[in-house]
């Protein structure tokens, strides 16, 4: 590359539902037409979230980089299939990242290694933990306060699922609740977040 853009400071720019959404959708649309610099801009605007999510799920920085890179290559390849009518560009990308990260932990990582790390990192200290990212954007604050209104079981179910990469059956076992309860808490926890954050399709 003859010109390399400065690496962004990592502050997430724009929530999936935020005001940045049309710009990201446009960048993805231009990428679909083969515009690599548009994709570079898309990367700069989303990579902190994508990498942060991969890192949180797979834990190992080298694996997180691989997962993130694979996800961006997939996003580039399937940019022609992105439909803004069905959701935001950031949401679409992060869905790809999450799926890849979860596939990675399930297939590669020994469950025991994950369990240890999880116990260290889980729950009440969450807010301090994520402060290490030190990019406490307004969006992140808004998400955190929404998460804080969940019941304890809802919050744990959602976090174990999304950040832990566990299946709902595993979450039921971890939380020592029946599978039906885990299923319901995962869903009603997310629905509550959706309503609080005003996500609509």
């Amino acid at each position: 590359m003859d010109h390399v853009r400065p690496v962004p400071d990592g502050a997430p720019q724009g929530a999936p539902s935020g005001g940045d959404s049309p710009r990201l959708a446009d960048l993805l649309h231009r990428s679909a037409l083969g515009d690599e610099s548009a994709f570079a801009e898309f990367y700069d605007a989303t990579s902190a979230r994508a990498y942060g999510l991969a890192l949180r799920v797979v834990r190992n920085p080298a694996h997180a980089e691989e997962v993130t890179q694979e996800a961006y290559l997939d996003a580039w390849r399937s940019s022609t299939r992105f439909d803004p009518a069905r959701g935001s560009a950031a949401g679409w990308l992060l869905t790809i990242v999450h799926r890849k990260a979860v596939d990675r932990v399930r297939s590669v990582e020994a469950a025991s290694a994950r369990d240890e790390t999880w116990n260290r990192e889980t729950a009440p200290t969450d807010h301090d933990q994520t402060a290490e990212a030190a990019h406490a954007s307004l969006d992140a604050a808004r998400v955190r306060s929404a998460v804080a209104t969940l019941t304890d079981v809802q919050r744990r179910a959602v976090e174990l699922t999304y950040f832990g990469g566990y299946t709902h059956t595993e979450v039921a076992t971890l939380l020592d609740v029946p599978l039906g309860t885990a299923k319901t808490r995962i869903r009603d926890g997310l629905i509550r977040l959706r309503d609080l954050m005003g996500v609509a399709s």
């Binding site: 390399v4 690599e36 700069d44 990579s47 993130t68 069905r86 297939s107 998400v143 566990y166 399709s201």
Partner: protein, 260 residues
């Protein structure tokens, strides 16, 4: 509300195992409400990533940009009916030939050429087969397919598995023919972007790839490779195109030592 509808949250956060996911995706194809809810919940889940954002190393950007410069974005999905707001999850992909076919004669003629070549090849192969096996019709034995030969072998032994809502499957093995066949009924499709892969388990517990299963509910497939020594046949869900080694636990394992 059926139980399936409650899986939207778990599905949106990739918390279903492979079989549950396959089953739920079949449901999704028919349930508008669930599709809409999944879209919203995925969007919501993605917001959670705001709280864990970490800038990646600068080298990652270079690798990503170097990577994309070597790959073309996929051909777009072309829908025949223009109703983008109510598009179901799977939209038909137009064949490359579809567009030129509409635009008049010259393109139409060009479109024929590969077909003619294929027809000529088929004829050639047909002739070849006749020359190689001129005696095949003489002894009046009905010619059996490879699968039929196994299924009808005198030493055929079988293991049946009921996979619940995922369908039913039977593995039949003939030691004398060194072949095995799998017959499925009502088998659910593999999850999006995945294939079912077949494996022979050797007496040493090695897993040997035995081919991919075509995506159809009812099928009869001859497994690739030697079957006589195998102690079991497994099916796993693998990334599209299959793997050298299983990357997940089998969704079905047919214990051939208990075959009858």
């Amino acid at each position: 509300m059926s139980d399936l509808h409650k899986l939207t949250g778990a599905y949106a956060m990739d918390a279903l195992d492979e079989l549950e996911r396959a089953r739920f995706e079949q449901h999704l194809a028919q349930c508008d409400d669930c599709r809409a809810e999944v879209a919203e919940l995925r969007e919501t889940a993605a917001l959670l990533s705001e709280t864990v954002a970490v800038p990646p190393p600068a080298s990652l950007r270079d690798s990503v940009l170097a990577g994309i410069s070597q790959v073309r974005p996929l051909a777009p999905e072309v829908t025949t009916t223009a109703t983008p707001t109510s598009t179901p999850t799977a939209t038909p992909v137009a064949t490359p030939q579809a567009a030129p076919a509409r635009s008049g004669k010259p393109a139409g003629r060009r479109g024929w050429a590969p077909f003619l070549v294929a027809a000529a090849l088929a004829l050639f192969v047909g002739l070849g087969a006749m020359i190689v096996a001129p005696w095949a019709d003489d002894d009046e034995v009905p010619r059996l397919t490879a699968a039929e030969q196994v299924l009808q072998a005198p030493d055929a032994e079988e293991v049946f598995l009921d996979l619940g809502e995922a369908g039913r499957a039977t593995v039949v093995r003939s030691k004398s023919q060194d072949k095995a066949v799998i017959v499925t009924e009502d088998m659910v499709s593999a999850p999006e972007g995945k294939d079912y892969e077949l494996w022979f388990q050797t007496p040493e517990d090695d897993m040997v790839p035995a081919g991919l299963m075509p995506d159809a509910p009812d099928q009869t497939v001859v497994l690739d490779g030697s079957a006589a020594e195998a102690v079991a046949v497994g099916i796993t869900v693998e990334p599209e195109g299959g793997s050298e080694q299983p990357t997940s636990d089998p969704i079905a394992l047919f214990d051939l030592t208990e075959a009858t």
